[in-house]
């Protein structure tokens, strides 16, 4: 029997010489050509294990026992030089954040070339040829010019492809991918992931995929190991674990990936918000040298329309740069629109008017709370601004804390003493304590761990049932849409493409972009049930981003509306 490609034997990690244990003793192995997933949330130790496998543990974290070996060679006993050679030849590594994983000061070609240092037999020309070849394999067009580009000149997806290329260049035996697609837009995620699978299969490379996303893992790997707080909860065959999870934590993880719609059909209610023909543009690039030069502008939102009924939820979905956040900010009055109207509770809102009956929940629970104010002061701030007397304020703050599921003892804590989920609860409490009719929430769970996401979404649902809030959510995550919203609005580069009831959207998406979006999202249940896009009647075609706003119109089918234009106009 040959030694496994990568194996952890009773391996554990701790902080410093005798600090806290970060990873408790565990054994795990990866065979050649296999695809293994390490699943867990932040603090589970999954990334540390990957770094330990390469001998790249951050300073201060040391192995506390056991061993890591690659092809039977214990990496702790290797000399620095031998370890370096091993890394260069046998292991490739991809990080989550394509923005910070490439050196901003070096050209792509140079950074790619470094991946071949462990192959001194190659000459300069050979190396260059191999780099261009691999760039072509990761579907980068014009690889020659990319070789001469700096990282900041590439998009996130492109950079992640370059990372993949660099990792696969020396034809390693193992590819370690640490949340390789988490920072990317849904459709790009799918493309990069498929490329990664394709390349590893072609080269016979084993894949160690580190992820928090059970959906992604289910789609791409054969074996799964679940980590929580540094403990290996269970490991084994992927289908086995997914169908018959033994540990409660595994079940929770699977649950959070298996989105089930809980919103029932409901009767029509009173209209709360009507947004008509909102257009927003931003100055693009630097303004001119002189004040009278008008800077070039870029359209962020073009002709957005939206209706929201009392007690209902609409989610605006789109990738980065789709204008979803801009639209929400315009409604909240944080941003001025170039044109269009916002009708709220039957009245037209002025751009600068104070939105007394509307509140906003921010994406980042770390920067949206003043680090110097305690929880109580944060929640009470809005009440104090409105001149509510201290006794009532105290009572309402207490009620709000209870509502969001925080104990009263949290009142005196400072934000840095709270976890991400607790912070977001404080953010929600700050909004609901004012009892607004409408709550706008920009990616309210995107920064949280998956199991925490579930809890927060559950909280949103409970609060809506109790207080009849209307929600306008902004999200890039279809799972969230399915769980909490009544209606979906799809945006792409400033344009609205589809507006539909949630169920209709998932069962019968109309716009080709919606289909693409649905197919790209890894899901546990109806796997790869490729959505067929609808054929439009003669003379009509789906509007794309180049279609001017004036030539767009909405085409209705059942409850859905899709942006279309006629063929003649499109050409």
């Amino acid at each position: 029997m040959t030694a496994p490609l990568l194996s952890f034997k009773d391996f554990s990690l701790r902080l410093g010489r005798d600090g806290a244990t970060l990873v408790h003793p565990l054994s795990l192995s990866l065979e050649a050509g296999e695809r293994l997933a390490l699943v867990g949330e932040s603090g589970s130790g999954k990334s540390l294990l990957a770094k330990a496998a390469m001998g790249l543990l951050p300073p201060g974290i040391t192995p506390a026992g056991g061993s890591v070996s690659i092809q039977g060679r214990n990496i702790q006993s290797l000399s620095p030089g031998a370890l370096r050679l091993l890394r260069g030849q046998k292991i490739g590594l991809i990080f989550q954040e394509p923005l910070t994983a490439l050196n901003p000061a070096l050209k792509i070609g140079r950074q790619l070339g470094e991946a071949l240092f462990s192959r001194p037999e190659l000459n300069q020309a050979d190396r260059k040829e191999r780099c261009i070849e691999i760039l072509r394999r990761v579907q980068i067009s014009a690889p020659e010019s990319i070789m001469n580009a700096y990282p900041h000149q590439l998009s996130g997806g492109m950079r992640q492809r370059v990372m993949l290329a660099a990792a696969m260049l020396p034809e390693p035996a193992i590819l370690i991918a640490d949340e390789p697609t988490t920072a990317l837009d849904v459709i790009v995620q799918d493309e990069v992931m498929s490329l990664m699978i394709e390349l590893t299969e072609a080269q016979g490379t084993a894949l160690l995929l580190i992820s928090h996303d059970m959906g992604l893992v289910a789609r791409h790997t054969q074996r799964i190991a679940v980590l929580e707080h540094g403990y290996l909860r269970e490991s084994g065959d992927a289908t086995n674990i997914l169908e018959n999870p033994q540990h409660s934590y595994t079940r929770r993880l699977i649950d959070s990936a298996r989105h089930h719609s809980v919103k029932g059909e409901s009767s029509e209610t009173k209209n709360l918000l009507r947004v008509s023909n909102i257009c927003v543009s931003f100055p693009a690039g630097r303004s001119g040298l002189w004040p009278w030069q008008t800077p070039p502008s870029m359209t962020a939102v073009s002709n957005a329309n939206l209706e929201l009924a009392l007690g209902k939820t609409t989610t605006i979905i789109g990738e980065s740069g789709s204008g979803k956040t801009t639209l929400a900010r315009v409604i909240m009055g944080l941003q001025n629109a170039d044109s269009g109207t916002i009708e709220f509770k039957g009245k037209i809102l002025e751009a600068s008017a104070q939105r007394d009956d509307m509140q906003y929940i921010f994406q980042d629970p770390f920067s949206s709370l003043d680090p110097r104010m305690c929880v109580e002061a944060i929640i009470a701030e809005g009440l104090k601004i409105r001149g509510i007397d201290p006794i009532e304020t105290q009572e309402r703050v207490r009620q709000a804390l209870t509502d969001v599921g925080l104990e009263q003892s949290f009142a005196k804590r400072l934000p840095h003493e709270l976890s991400g989920g607790q912070r977001q609860r404080v953010g929600i409490a700050r909004a609901i304590v004012l009892r607004p009719s409408l709550i706008i929430a920009d990616e309210p769970v995107a920064a949280l761990d998956v199991t925490i996401q579930q809890q927060i979404l559950e909280l949103f649902r409970r609060l809506q049932n109790r207080y009849q809030f209307s929600y306008l959510f902004i999200s890039h995550d279809l799972g969230m849409v399915e769980q909490v919203s009544d209606e979906v609005l799809v945006m792409y580069r400033g344009h609205q493409l589809e507006h539909a009831r949630t169920r209709d959207f998932f069962e019968q998406p109309l716009h080709p972009y919606s289909c693409q979006l649905l197919n790209a999202t890894p899901r546990m249940d109806h796997q790869l049930s490729a959505h067929q896009s609808i054929k439009l009647p003669q003379g009509l075609s789906f509007a794309d981003t180049d279609t001017p706003a004036s030539q767009r119109s909405w085409w209705h089918l059942g409850t859905s509306k899709v942006a279309v234009c006629t063929h003649s106009q499109k050409n």
Partner: protein, 292 residues
Amino acid sequence: MNNLMTNQTAVIKTAMPLWKNLWHIPSARFSIIFLTTVVLLAITSTFYLPYDPLALDIDARMQAPSGEHWLGTDFFGRDLFSRMLVGAGVSLRVSLFSVVFATLLGTLLGTVAGYRGGWTDRSLMVAVDAILAMPGILLALVLMMILGAGEVGVVLALGLAYSPTVARTVRGTVLSIREKEFIEAASVLGGSDRHIMWRHLVPNIVGPLTVLCSSLFAQALLSESALSFLGLGVPPPYPSWGGMLADGRQFISQAPWLCLIPGTAITLTLLAINLLGDALRDCLDPREGAQK
């Protein structure tokens, strides 16, 4: 009123562990003890000064340190120990007031520029850059000529020369805090500009400003000594450490202690302030805080 109360308690809550953290850093502890001792000595010196620091004694000129004159005497027979104590008061007082002056003026300008933005910001920053383009010590020298030698002159000159630095830092901090979502959150809650400025902006500037002030204090002490050294600081016969160093310069071969003592005092004080500043920055670093 009530608003202010809660805010202060919140600030104090973060300030408390800061002092505790500082005390746990050995270098900071040394600095705090050293600086407190110097300040206390300077303040209480009037009660036990062994000699009049200005009194000339021709018979006791240039005596080496002895039991009678602990640190020796200078060219005019003045007791060096007494002069060092009084000089400490002068040097520290001048540095402190000039930093306070620079901080007040600079914070005002920086906050207005950072918060208003637009043309206010641009014109203020052009002016600030223009002043920064002139070397601080030369600017202070020219200002001293206008304001006249003396403690008030030094304070105003150094304060004016340093205020652009403060303005720049405060403006940068204001701009970065303005980007934070909690500022927008406050405006969503209906907070007015004034509310946001006083309850969110100002409390969050305090940390970076404290660090800057500690480094400015060191610079002010250095510049005060340099000005006195060049003969444009506190006018003789009043003692200041820089002036004493300059006086001793001529006698460096005959009476080296005349230079050695004030020089060592300046260096040790600067070292204490710098170490304290480093410790302060470590304690106030948001990333350090996030880890705990």
